[in-house]
Subunit: 121 residues, 2 copies
């Protein structure tokens, strides 16, 4: 078995584009993905699964139809399944997402921001 730590900072040096998740690890049928985000994403939801956001560096706002949560480095939030949300970052923010394999970043809201699934870094 390989015994290599997965280092978030090192992984983030390997890509520069925004809103394009990179898988760094799998646990059972779940994936851990790093994403760089900046600007506004699209309103969307994931009807079949909760989704976890963890901020590694920077600041992320997640808008909901009934409010907003602001996440800074060292903070996380669980978006319940079926709840519409729109992530917004006024400057570049580095985040980790945890969700089941196969979840599309834009949910059912097809968009030019829809990213390829299951891209590893």
């Amino acid at each position: 078995m390989k015994h290599n730590a997965i280092n978030f900072k090192e992984k983030f040096t390997k890509f520069t584009d925004h809103w394009s998740p990179r898988v760094i690890a799998e646990m059972n049928d779940y994936q851990f993905k790093l994403v760089k985000v900046e600007g506004e994403f699209v309103w969307h939801d994931h009807p079949d699964t909760d989704e976890v956001f963890i901020v590694i560096e920077g600041c992320l706002n997640i808008e909901f139809r009934d409010g907003v949560v602001t996440l800074e480095s060292g903070e996380m939030f669980v978006i319940p399944k079926g709840i519409e949300h729109k992530p917004i970052a006024t400057s570049e923010c580095k985040i980790m997402i945890v969700e089941p394999k196969g979840v599309v970043n834009t949910g059912d809201s097809g968009s030019e921001l829809t990213a390829e699934d299951d891209v590893w870094v």
Copy 2:
């Protein structure tokens, strides 16, 4: 819906004991748990599930029968199901564990270090 960020540092101020996981969030049937660790844990495995360790602060060694991985702040590791492991921290280390609900910290290796399940903070 409540829109409160979960802040790791703030949660860690709420308990002091070692090897006793506190649940901070649930995503589907998985839980995110914070743990303070220091010293040697017991050899154990989880026959039915992978387990994720993320180091928030400090340094953690995880021994395996065929090697060791060292994790520092900002690093993670996935322990495959059924693989025996023994966490060791020479000084206090703050970690987050991600695993399915109901996983016992010592696996099948009953021990005085076996912690109560599903304790939230």
